[in-house]
Amino acid sequence: MLEAVHLTKRYSSLPAVQDLSFSLRPGQVLGCLGPNGSGKSTTVKMLTGLLQPTRGTVQFDGHNIQDGLAAYRKRLGYVPEEAHLYPYLSGWEYLELIGTLRGMPRNDLAKKIDTLLELFSLHPNRHASIGSYSKGMRQRILLIAAIMDNPDIFIFDEPLSGLDVTSALIFKNLVQTLGQQGKLVFYCSHVLEVVEKVCSDVLILRKGIVIAQDSVTNIGQILGQSLENTFLHLVDDVDTMNVARDIVTVMKAA
């Protein structure tokens, strides 16, 4: 089980996340929602161990992840928000590099990479440099890199960014299958419909504070609305229709 225990992160004196606590059980797919600046990325980085919390701990199976980061990361698959890849490596070379650095057995590695590239429709481009890849292709490379070592925990930060419809559908089904197989999945996204569809539970953040945390069905039932309306009700103080009208007015102005 992965637990966030009273997590707080401050940059200088500015709080990004405050007293965040939740747990993630095997088989659970926890969606994390929140507007820009709500602390989603900071939470993800603390869960991956990239950032140290100012206060509180992230615990995996009862142990603070900071006490054994390498062992924890061996069991972690992470898809970051931005695809920072080495443009001069080919897709195949990049995956082979990640596989080697993760300590995967060499004899299975090449076969596994080829099969995954085939399944993600990247096999024909496997020897082209990543610099020539589209955003969606880079995203698929990141997804393969995250899953190829069969980790127990998955942390996805906006994983559908740039993916085409088919790849996105495959990925959504993959997340559900991972959940059914007893993996722990933390899924961060702006796309409410996807979270509603693939996640069993949802965590809504606003200004670094948890404002709602329950199963997707329960959250909707509380207000008797869809997840999108519930989210807007909980998070945004903005009258979106009014803002849209104002934008059109400014567009028309000379």
Partner: protein, 587 residues
């Protein structure tokens, strides 16, 4: 036996590469060569093979040029039959030491950004089951490996050719072997010293300065290092003579010149060192140890301060000051940049020149070279003249604005070819009409705005004060006219928006272009000032330059007029010209 040894080394390397640590070293070596940073743009990525070849070329060329000096037949023709090769080779030995330091230092400055692991490495490697300490050591091993590789590559050719050229005068093979070994030790150590000196400077700055201050100052510091290296190269013509003249203990300026330490080391190993050189040779090894220790310490501190905290740095919101509208900008818009295209693109070019690392670096290097050559000309002017007024009218002093304007114009023209974030040029492709022929006038305006103001503001008042306003007006007029004509020539068939086109491939006529630059420099910055110096006494003689100027003006004008419409269209892709084109009739 040799092949089995090579095979064993290859196998050991492959085994090393297969381990995670080896893969990381391999990755860091590649990223240092291919460029760091978060950008995916092509930039100046030349590939490992070409970089190594370029680094090896200067030593090779210089060695070949020395054949003229050491050729036995040529020496015999000159009547030099009893030559002491070690004594004759001293200035050349010093030159090779300085050359190896300059080339290696320049390579380290060029790859400055890529030496330290960056945000991309952080995002790719830190989430993996590898400790940050392992990443630290892998990058360190890569840096040490590269220091060795560059030192070897820069000097490999000269280590064979130079001793061969010098040894050609000797009958004993042992002389060649001993000379080659001593030369190799001297230049390799000098290279390693230069690499670590740049690396320690980088590390110290990273360790001391906050990240934003470091990023802002980085290009200027690199420019300063490049100017220092070029200056160091220029000392090679004077230092050996000065060293010979020194009697007694070494003066401070020699002690502070690392290139002299390595010359001292070479001469000590040859057993031919004077007391001064012996004293200097004692500084070589401790000097290397010191810079390596500083580099290591600064690297460790810098790594901890910047790399380990990258995640925190990216989360912090930067405080950005709102841009101000400058009066100069408004004035330029009203007087020179009258179309929206000119106004928008001029700002884009200006901001790219000021903010893009690679462009700033090349611009600073060109500026540095221009300053070094100008200072040399100024020194020569004072050395050969008795008074300030006489010095001002000497060809050397008159050549200064010509040197500066020539190098800046050529430099800017070259910089325009270096792309910046090609993926972002879709906005220009979308917004600009390809048939609109405004790129060449825009490029001309940019160059002239960057060159003419200081020519007018410095040359005219300086010469007005020293030589009277008539001479000042003539000199300034000539410099301005030459700068405008050179700009016109440089922009013949220019049909791209600066920085938005792919990097031109090396073409067969590139060597001819290079030679034309050298020839052009001789006419522009050497012959013209010489003529001007003699003509300023009789101003009417200056009129003989009018036909030259008319021809220089007419040729680009004629070429522009006779270019067909399709060749004037704006381009975003520099595709190579095919020598032979297949017609594919069978397809």
């Amino acid at each position: 036996m040799i092949s089995s040894l090579i095979e064993a080394i290859y196998r050991a390397w492959e085994n090393f590469r297969e381990r995670p640590f080896g893969r990381m070293v391999d990755l860091f070596v590649a990223r240092i060569f291919r460029g760091g940073g978060d950008s995916d743009s092509e930039g100046l990525d030349l590939g490992v093979g070409l970089v190594l070849t370029l680094l090896a070329m200067p030593g090779g060329f210089v060695s070949l040029l020395l054949l003229n000096k050491y050729g036995t037949f040529l020496q015999w023709l000159r009547g030099a039959t009893n030559v002491d090769p070690l004594a004759v080779a001293l200035p050349d030995e010093y030159f090779f030491i300085v050359l190896s330091m300059t080339v290696t230092g320049a390579a380290a400055v060029w790859r400055w950004d890529a030496i330290f692991p960056d945000r991309r490495d952080y995002m790719n490697l830190v989430p993996l089951p590898i400790s940050t300490r392992t990443i630290f050591f892998a990058n360190l091993v890569a840096v040490f490996f590269l220091a060795g590789l560059i030192a070897f590559d820069v000097n490999a050719v000269s280590c064979v050719l130079f001793p061969t050229v010098v040894g050609a005068t000797q009958t004993k093979f042992l002389f060649f072997v001993k000379f080659a070994v001593v030369h190799a030790i001297g230049v390799m150590l000098a290279s390693i010293f230069a690499f670590f000196a740049v690396f320690s400077l980088l590390g110290l700055l990273m360790a001391i300065l906050p990240l934003r201050a470091f990023r802002r100052s980085s290009a200027y510091i690199r420019g300063f290092v490049v100017v220092y290296l070029v200056g160091l190269l220029c000392t090679s013509f004077a230092v050996p003579d000065l060293l010979r003249k020194v009697k007694g203990p070494a003066p401070l300026w020699i002690l502070l010149a690392p290139s002299c330490w390595f010359l001292g080391l070479c001469q000590s190993l040859h057993g031919r060192a004077s007391p001064v050189l012996t004293e200097l040779s004692r500084l070589a090894i401790p000097g290397i140890a010191m810079v390596a220790a500083i580099a290591l310490g600064a690297y460790a501190v810098g790594y901890h301060r910047h790399f380990v905290r990258i995640a925190e740095a990216t989360e912090t919101t930067a405080i950005v000051l709102a841009p101000r509208t400058s009066r100069l900008g408004v004035l330029l818009d009203e007087l020179l940049l009258r179309t929206p295209f000119h106004r928008g693109c001029f700002r884009f070019i200006g901001k790219t020149l000021l903010r893009s690392e690679s462009h700033r670096l090349v611009l600073t290097a060109v500026g540095g070279l221009a300053l070094v050559l100008s200072s040399q000309a100024l020194m020569d002017a004072f050395e050969n003249s008795r008074s300030l007024r006489a010095a001002a009218l000497s060809p050397d002093a008159l050549s200064i604005p010509f040197i500066l304007s020539f190098l800046i114009i050529i430099g800017l023209r070259i910089i325009f070819e270096i792309p910046v974030e090609l993926r972002s040029n879709w906005i220009f492709q979308l917004m600009i009409d390809s048939d609109q022929q405004e790129c060449e006038p825009l490029a001309r305006r940019v160059i002239l705005i960057l060159v003419l103001p200081w020519l007018l503001l410095i040359t005219f008042p300086a010469y007005g004060y020293l030589e009277g306003w008539a001479v000042a007006a003539l000199h300034t007029l000539l410099v301005v006219a030459w700068a405008v004509l050179l700009t016109n020539i440089m922009l013949v068939r220019f049909r791209k928006l600066p920085f938005t086109c792919t990097l031109p491939v090396f073409k067969q006529h590139s060597i001819v272009v290079l030679l034309s630059f050298c020839f052009g420099y001789l006419i522009y910055a050497v012959s013209t000032p010489e003529f001007e110096s003699s003509a300023l006494g009789e101003p009417l003689r200056m009129l003989s330059l009018v036909p030259v100027a008319a021809v220089a003006w007419y040729i680009p004008h004629y070429l522009a007029k006779n270019t067909i419409a399709i060749e004037r269209r704006l381009i975003f892709e520099e595709s190579p010209t095919q020598t032979v084109e297949a017609l594919r009739l069978s397809d």
